[in-house]
């Protein structure tokens, strides 16, 4: 589905310095029963966020009003595990538009790009810098310029460039999705199908 265009995002950020955050933590399987894409944000990090009797856990960052913003900053190997796009939906529906980490799992990265969440991969050092700055001053803003492919820590002179596939970048800047593209070349797909043996 089409989503909002992404150009420049400037926001405070929420730090989650844990490595190997898997999609089962982002959205546990028992919340995958919906037949429509609604309400996933409520269950983002459900078991880290709430105790078994649904009381918010004070020590979890999403329950700490000091840290807010549209950017989630996670530890290395973010989004490993299951292919559930629900994980990306939960992040989007909660209000994040960008996840920053030093490493992303493959399928999760794709899922994000497909629904309009920008995964920004930075170096280990830069990630450390972001965490340090946020902890020092939770009001620290990050500026993410998709067109320039640069992420900046505002109030410091730290910035870093990040990679994104040209095609995907175009999609995000314009709010297009892959199906729009594929429907356009349907004739060649059908022609190709005739030649395939299976």
């Amino acid at each position: 589905m089409a989503y909002d265009k992404f150009k420049i995002l400037e926001s405070t950020a929420v730090p989650l310095p844990i490595e190997n955050i898997d999609t089962d933590q982002i959205i546990p399987a028992r919340f995958l029963k919906a037949t429509e894409r609604i309400g996933f944000g409520d269950n983002l990090f459900r078991d880290w966020r709430y105790s078994s009797n649904n009381i918010p856990k004070k020590d979890f960052v999403l329950n700490n009003s000091t840290f807010k913003g549209k950017i989630l900053v996670g530890g290395k190997n973010f989004g490993s595990g299951s292919s559930r796009e629900h994980a990306a939906w939960a992040i989007y529906d909660y209000g994040f538009r960008c996840v920053v980490s030093s490493f992303f799992a493959d399928i999760f990265r794709n899922n994000c790009l497909n629904i309009g969440v920008l995964p920004v991969q930075v170096s280990t050092e830069f990630l450390e810098k972001i965490f340090n700055n946020i902890y020092e001053n939770p009001k620290t803003k990050l500026n993410i310029d998709l067109n320039q492919q640069i992420i900046r820590i505002l109030g410091t002179d730290s910035s870093e460039s990040f990679e994104i596939n040209e095609y995907k970048k175009g999609n995000m800047l314009n709010g297009y999705d892959d199906i729009d593209y594929l429907m356009n070349i349907k004739d060649s797909i059908e022609k190709f199908a005739k030649k395939t043996p299976l």
Binding site: K33, T35, N77, I107, Y181, I189, A193, T196
Partner: protein
């Protein structure tokens, strides 16, 4: 020529190349299940389009289904609604649908191969990360997200950049008691859960050549747990024998034609890989995990490593041990367990049940252990009965449940209670994966069987 097996299959499926962008890849087989498809079908409806090639699309219900009393209506209203949605969507779009109670029903990655849907040289996708299982046949198979499910339903194509190529070669002889699951857990423990991210893996060497097709499926299944997009093994006579005469496999002239193509499916002698790894099969021991990701595995008789020696962050490592309530340096052997789960698309096939049964034969299940034995499909369930395994299992104090994903992801009622330890033959030991607060120890069917008998973590080789 210097093409890899992956190159050959990938390149022959590229419909269109985008400059500085992904390839448009044609998909031969699309497997669909109830959890990751409803929003995709909804997308089709919004766009007012139909499934482009319903005959290349196969639907089965598995993630959400109960493993007891499947003949009764599904109790949980949300699960029931999701199952109903799959049935209705399949009907609307003319997709073959193997729902609850259907004789062909089972876990998507178990039934695909069983009915000859999975073929060498094919491109296969499904909205489930363990789609990598089908790579055992020399197919390119990988998991996709729901937007991509919608993409494949509507255009039979997917847009992805070609992955880098890695070859993992293991030669040598596996010792008795070491199974394909141990080989896979060993590789993941060496590579970590992100060690193969960005790569498609080919498994080579005599260890894989000598493995049965089911063993190869177990290995390819777990490719995703080291971050790989997928894994594959070149097809050989075992592959062809397995496929021959299955319901959806080619017949007659088509078979001969297919065989001609399939026999070309191997990496060229001087094929170029971006990364090559070599391990010694003789050294692999029965494995078990002690932490909260599949890379946290050790030989069963080794101690839990110390945090200082971990490549990942010490804090994350300690958090994980704290969740498991284990300590650095401790031995895993002799630790008490509460549950045993035999099943899933990793180890829910007939050979897994044979191995488990052979070990428990003539013994008794430990009274402190609750065991859930869940076949991967009705076909597996039938074989368990007709081969006489069920009788042996029942004599040892076990019961058999009905097929489905079950406690692998605990979407149905099969949830391990908080704080309890489960030795599981499935694929993920993430926090809460098998139920909120559950603690999972991943292992082979043999280690699971030994634990079920003794009630503690036990080296299965002590039973020989």
């Amino acid at each position: 020529m210097n093409q890899t097996l992956f190159d050959k299959v990938w390149d022959s499926h590229v419909v269109h190349k985008i400059n500085n962008g992904p390839d448009v890849l044609f998909i031969d087989r699309h497997m669909v299940h109830e959890v990751t498809s409803p929003v995709a079908f909804l997308g089709l409806k919004k766009r007012n389009i139909n499934v482009l090639f319903p005959e290349k699309t196969f639907a089965t219900a598995d993630h959400n289904t109960p493993t007891k009393n499947q003949h009764l209506p599904v109790k949980d209203p949300l699960s029931a609604k999701q199952l109903k949605a799959l049935e209705e969507n399949s009907k609307i779009h003319g997709i073959s649908f193997w729902g609850l109670g259907h004789e062909k029903n089972g876990i998507v990655h178990v039934v695909g191969p069983e009915y000859g849907i999975t073929l060498p040289g094919a491109t296969i996708v499904c909205g489930d990360s363990h789609t990598s299982t089908h790579g055992a046949f020399g197919a390119i198979a990988f998991g996709i997200g729901t937007s991509e499910v919608e993409m494949v339903l509507s255009t039979q194509c997917i847009m992805q950049p070609k992955a880098k190529k890695m070859r993992i070669t293991i030669n040598g002889k596996l010792s008795k008691g070491v199974t394909p699951k141990d080989v896979a857990l060993f590789i993941i423990s060496e590579l970590t859960t992100s060690g193969a991210t960005g790569y498609f893996v080919e498994y080579a060497g005599n260890v894989f050549e000598e493995m049965s097709m089911e063993g190869r499926m177990t290995v390819c299944n777990l490719s995703i747990e080291m971050g790989a997009r997928g894994g594959m093994i070149a097809p050989d006579h075992k592959t062809f024998e397995y496929i021959k005469n299955r319901e959806f496999s080619p017949k007659g002239k088509d078979w001969t034609k297919a065989m001609n193509y399939w026999s070309t499916l191997k990496s060229d002698k001087d094929a170029l890989f971006d990364k090559e790894l070599l391990f010694d099969g003789d050294k692999i021991q029965p494995m078990i995990t002690y932490g909260t990701n599949p890379g946290m595995g050790i030989s069963i008789s080794n101690g839990i490593p110390n945090a200082e020696n971990q490549e990942g962050g010490i804090k994350t490592f300690r958090k994980s041990l704290q969740y498991m309530n284990y300590n650095e340096g401790e031995s895993m052997l002799g630790k008490k367990i509460d549950f045993v789960f035999l099943g899933s698309c990793t180890n829910g096939r007939i050979e897994d049940f044979r191995a488990f049964t052979e070990l428990v034969k003539g013994k008794k299940k430990a009274p402190n252990v609750t065991a859930w034995l869940v076949p991967g499909s009705h076909k597996v369930e039938q074989a368990i009965k007709s081969e006489g395994l069920l009788t042996i299992l029942e004599e040892a104090g076990f019961e058999l449940r009905e097929p489905g994903c079950s406690a692998c992801l605990a979407m149905n009622d099969d949830k391990i209670p908080a704080g309890k330890y489960a030795v599981s033959t499935s694929n993920r030991n993430f926090e809460g994966r098998q139920g909120p607060g559950s603690r999972t120890l991943l292992a082979s069917p043999l280690v699971a069987a030994a634990a079920a008998i003794t009630g503690t973590i036990t080296d299965p080789r002590t039973f020989y």
